[in-house]
């Protein structure tokens, strides 16, 4: 067990270092894209685990990201204000403390919402849970307008994390934010990898395969499903933190139904249950709109405008359908066949 854990941490560390190094090769705009896709990756990783391992489809993961984002923004702003005027406001403490406090706030907010949803999810079957999460996404703009402190459609701003003095000559702002994004995402995804290949993952698969058999084996399906939801929400919440750091803004418009569906697309395309696939899906979802933009740039204005923003959605829809219908590799996660558990762990 211990060697397994160490190996996992080493791999995680290596990948993180690779990613950090990669930021030196990218220009500021690409680093910004890397940061945002890292945030999306964190959320998609949580979602793909949830759907792939326990069969619970959430259409509202954007709301969980928003909860994390709001939690981060509100907490970090308060802490920054509290530090202002004290000597600690300069130097490393000035930005690190609000950042960590913000992450804690995000974890609390997303965890809370995720727990509530998880409790509901434990009692609900497929379409009912999906429908509930759909209603949640639709209600987010209203909630932002009604809950005091969330400032409605205009949204809440998150403090700008400046490049620390020691590194100021070395890297630019976008690269710095990409670093933060990579680190937060690594913290979000590594526990998921560990869970997946450990006992928790086994339990989730057992419950998904056959709830009665799992109960006989002493596993409480409700608790496992709710737990999966909470873990998934924490990952999504940290994804929201990453987006808040990179964009310094949290507003309901950025976390609407369209975005929630894109998270599902990313999870499906990558292969439900596969974390590496989640990474590929997140990159696709970030890059495809840009590619479509480049491709339609030469077209006459009216047609170009109609395609911009819409063509990529058509493509995503087609891809989702094709993957679900034709790719057994992706579908195998969904169908609870009577495969021996050892076979499942090989994926």
């Amino acid at each position: 067990m211990r060697t397994h854990g160490t190996r996992l941490l080493l791999r995680a560390g290596l990948l993180t270092l690779l990613a950090l190094g990669a930021t030196f090769l990218l220009d500021p705009y690409r680093n910004y894209q890397l940061a945002t896709s890292a945030g999306v990756f964190a959320a998609v990783a949580g979602l793909t685990l949830l759907v792939g391992l326990t069969g619970q489809l959430s259409l509202g993961h954007a709301v969980l990201m928003a909860a994390g984002g709001y939690g981060y923004a509100l907490t970090a702003t308060r802490v920054t204000e509290a530090l202002e005027g004290t000597g600690a406001a300069d130097g490393i403490v000035g930005w690190l403390v609000p950042l960590l406090a913000g992450v804690a706030g995000a974890v609390v907010a997303a965890g809370l919402l995720g727990t509530l949803l998880g409790l509901a999810a434990a009692r609900l079957r497929g379409p009912y849970l999906t429908g509930l999460t759909l209603a949640l996404v639709i209600a987010l703009p209203s909630a932002a307008g009604i809950v005091p402190g969330l400032a409605g459609a205009q949204g809440v701003s998150a403090p700008f994390v400046p490049v620390p003095d020691a590194l100021a000559t070395l890297i630019a702002v976008e690269q710095w934010h990409a670093w933060l994004a990579i680190l937060v995402t690594a913290c979000a995804v590594t526990p998921l990898v560990a869970l997946r290949s450990g006992r928790a993952g086994l339990r989730m698969r057992a419950v998904h395969d056959d709830e009665t058999a799992a109960r006989l084996a002493g596993i409480d399906p409700g608790r496992v499903k709710a737990g999966a939801f909470v873990i998934s929400s924490l990952a999504a919440g940290l994804g929201g933190v990453v987006l808040a750091i990179a964009t310094q803004q949290v507003s309901p418009g950025a976390y609407g139904l369209g975005f929630s569906l894109l998270l599902v697309v990313a999870a499906v395309v990558g292969g439900l249950g596969s974390l590496g696939g989640a990474a590929l899906g997140a990159v696709l979802v970030t890059l495809l709109p840009w590619l479509v933009d480049q491709a339609t740039a030469g077209l006459p204005a009216d047609l170009g405008h109609r395609l911009q923003g819409n063509l990529e959605i058509v493509l995503f829809g087609v891809v989702v359908i094709v993957v679900t219908v034709l790719w057994p590799g992706g579908l195998a996660r969904l169908v609870p066949k009577n495969t021996p558990l050892s076979q499942n762990t090989e994926r």
Partner: protein, 422 residues
Amino acid sequence: MRTTRSTSRAGAAAVLGLTATTALSACSTPAAAEVPGITDDTVVIGTHQPLTGPAAAGFASISAATAAYFEYVNDQGGINGRQIEYVVKDDGYNPANTQTVVRELVQEDEVFAIVNGLGTPTHTSVLDYLDQNGVPDLFVASGSLTWDQPDEYPNTFGFNADYVTEGAALAQYARDTDPDAVVCVLGQDDDFGEGILEGVELVVGDGEVAQNQTYSTADQDVTAQLGAMKEAGCTHNVLGTINGFTALAVGTAAQMEWFPKWHVSSSGADHPTLVEYLGEEGAPALEGLVSVNYLPNSPSSDWYELFSRINDEYNDGAPYTGNTTYGMSVGYQFAEALAAAGENPTRESIVAAVESGELRGNGVAPLTYSADDHFAYRTVRIAVVTDGAQDFTDDAYEVSEAGATAVTPEETPLENEGIPAG
């Protein structure tokens, strides 16, 4: 064990793949010019607009009109010998997309300035970024008070008359035409509605608005709100609504056999658009509709006539609406600022040109830009729908903290075929 290996393999592949593709494109980026977006014969500017998505209805035609005006100017030789290139990017009214496309505009397209960025939540999300990068943020398409913060955002300037000014003018006109007016407000449930309410309260007094109702763009039924206003005995309704919801309000009230006076913000009072929403049967309810505007959106204006010609020739004969006047006026104002920025414009020189207060614009009153004021219009003119046609009256109001004062409108005369002299 194979799980983590395949995961890390896939993860590494993803990172390397992303790095490779983007590194290749990064290497192909040309070195930045001395002044971004300016060469000897071109000026490149950019904007973010909602062209697609649920909120795009009614806004997509603005950028087309602005682009048509720039084409016209370019055909006549440009400004100081430079052709204006207008890059329009779609953000679908989603602030997350706005962040992405604005960064694209600044870092990839290397625009000289951002002009007429549209929407309050969307543009608010990029204020800090533009400020940090010293990009001129000119003529924001929204009436929010956020754009007038010369200390915080010295490079940001608004274009629209702000919502408070409009609300105050509309309420004052109600008072002036009917001393017994019972004034109520129906506003959008965001800064738009809040601003209009603030303006109305500036005139009638805090808490003296008989009914303040809000609507949400997600719910296309305002029957409940109108019912409350009718019951409260409102005689004059000030609307902080976009076109679709103005039509809904007027139409629903007509169905309830209720015909109060409608005083509507410029964002939702475009007569041709309202007629299209209400249809032949419903259009008569628009008779007597009062609105405010700060641009020469009247068929008797020389500017209107020029813009109609440009629209026919350069905009594929798209229907002429208030958005056309708006878009082309934005274009004219930028051209004026660019001309005033000198033979060799820089980002600093264009901002200085706007702050100098020398820009006149083409509105119902001279522009009010200065070092302390980053708003364009504090005066608005009243328009009324008479016999099925919407046109200006001679009433105009200048709004300050003290309230709304009646003034005489002074429209800028059309000179040099609408092309600012260098």
